[in-house]
């Protein structure tokens, strides 16, 4: 059987979910018999080609996140939102009840010790979105793995179910929102 192509990325996330993926430890070896990584922080490939599975960590907080997520959706047969941020917006979305301009002013202009502060405006920097969004508000998402981060056991169970052609089911002790 040819190996399944898997792409992963972290958008408005902390890479904690990627760390949890690596936390499956020695089970990485049997996993790598079944899959190969395309675009991923693990390979440093910058753009993803056609893939079987896309795993996206983090929510959508800026314009670049939207482009990357759309690239994943366009190339991946199955798209998985992994972790609280991808599923709910998570920690970055805790700014959603605040005004974005007020947030930027507070951090770069009015906070103590910022006499000559400037709000960053380099064209290289992606523009922040007004609100942070979970992935399913931007593209169609096929599967969700909640958790902050989901445990290695939860990720292993989910991926082995999916690769074996079963409907992934976490069950008690593996499904966690925290």
């Amino acid at each position: 059987m040819p190996k399944l192509k898997v792409a992963t990325t972290s958008l408005a996330g902390c890479f904690g979910c990627h760390m949890s993926l690596l936390d499956i430890d020695e089970r990485l070896f049997p996993l790598l018999d079944l899959i190969e990584f395309d675009r991923s922080p693990l390979t440093d490939i910058k753009h993803c080609g056609p893939c079987d599975i896309g795993i996206v960590e983090g929510g959508i907080c800026n314009a670049e996140n939207v482009h990357v997520l759309r690239e994943f959706r366009a190339n991946c047969k199955t798209l998985i939102a992994i972790g609280a941020c991808a599923v709910t917006g998570g920690l970055p979305a805790q700014r959603n009840h605040l005004d974005l301009g007020a947030c930027l002013s507070e951090v770069y202009l009015t906070e103590g010790g910022l006499e000559h502060g400037l709000i960053p405006n380099d064209p290289e920097l992606p523009l922040p979105l007004d609100k942070v969004h979970p992935l399913h508000e931007v593209v169609k998402v096929d599967y969700f793995i909640p958790g902050c981060p989901p445990s290695a056991d939860a990720i292993w169970k989910f991926l082995t179910d999916l690769i074996a052609g079963r409907t992934p089911k976490l069950g008690h002790g593996l499904i966690k929102y925290d």
Binding site: V87, T88, G89, K131, P134, K169, H172
Partner: protein, 251 residues
């Protein structure tokens, strides 16, 4: 005793006259998912998570009087799908950020989500702006997590005789308010020993400075899912009313 029974998912469940379907089911050791229902208080019938299909009609089992021969469908794909959607809507409507919530692991809403297999809220999140009330020296109110179940309202009025809490507004603007001229909890006669302090199913009413005394991983819904835990907690009195063991343990 009475010989009256109804059918719950095809199995006979005995009941006493006056018992609701959920009271009879829990007394008989049969779980029906529920959220705003609490055995010690009058049914509220607002969350609808305990919805069952009784003789072909969808109805909240906490307010439905049991009747002989009734055919009740509870643990079916159709009814569980509806319950899942209700729980998803509750998650989308408030700010339920479990990773930072000290109620995580002890939260009924979260445990229901786990047990029903809710992997995403599915809907567009509201992200409402709901400031907290930290005015009281010993108690924190985090309205972000309120699901409007009225359990604290019922406990404060029916048991404590204080009516510290109430719901105000209608529809989308409905929210929990504190019965004080200032609107602040510090200006009420609420006390740590009040019944209202122990009934919040989510993380709104919190005792300060004890948040993580009980570690994550050793909490109420960690050893077993809510479907099993709820049956352990359920009162076994003949009429289905009375103290639930979960509350007794806390007193």
């Amino acid at each position: 005793m009475t010989d009256a029974t109804f059918l719950l998912d095809g199995e006979e469940v005995p009941f006493q006259p006056g018992q609701t379907v959920i009271q009879a089911a829990l007394s008989a050791g049969r779980y029906i998912p529920h959220l705003c229902y609490h055995p010690e208080f009058k049914p509220h019938g607002s969350c609808k998570v305990c919805t069952v299909k009784a003789d072909g009609r969808l109805v909240a089992s906490c307010t439905l009087p049991a009747q002989a021969g009734m055919a009740v469908e509870s643990d079916s794909d159709e009814v569980n799908d509806l319950r899942r959607t209700l729980v998803q809507m509750l998650f989308a409507e408030g700010n339920h950020f479990c990773p930072s919530c000290e109620k995580s692991g002890n939260c009924t809403l979260q445990a229901l989500g786990y047990d029903l297999g809710v992997m995403t809220a599915g809907f567009r999140h509201f992200f409402p702006d709901r400031p907290v009330d930290a005015s009281h020296p010993d108690i924190l109110l985090d309205f972000n997590r309120c699901i409007l179940c009225e359990l604290c309202v019922r406990a404060s009025c029916e048991v404590d005789g204080k009516c510290v809490f109430a719901l105000s507004g209608r529809g989308l603007t409905k929210h929990l308010v504190v019965n004080a001229e200032s609107g602040l909890l510090a200006d009420t006669d609420v006390a740590l020993t009040d019944k209202a302090m122990e009934v919040c199913p989510v993380g709104v009413i919190l005792k300060k400075r004890v948040g993580f005394a009980q570690p994550i991983g050793q909490r109420r819904y960690d050893p077993q899912p809510i479907s099993a835990q709820a049956l352990r907690d359920a009162p076994r009195t003949a009429d289905g009313a009375g103290k639930c063991t979960a509350c007794e343990g806390k007193e």
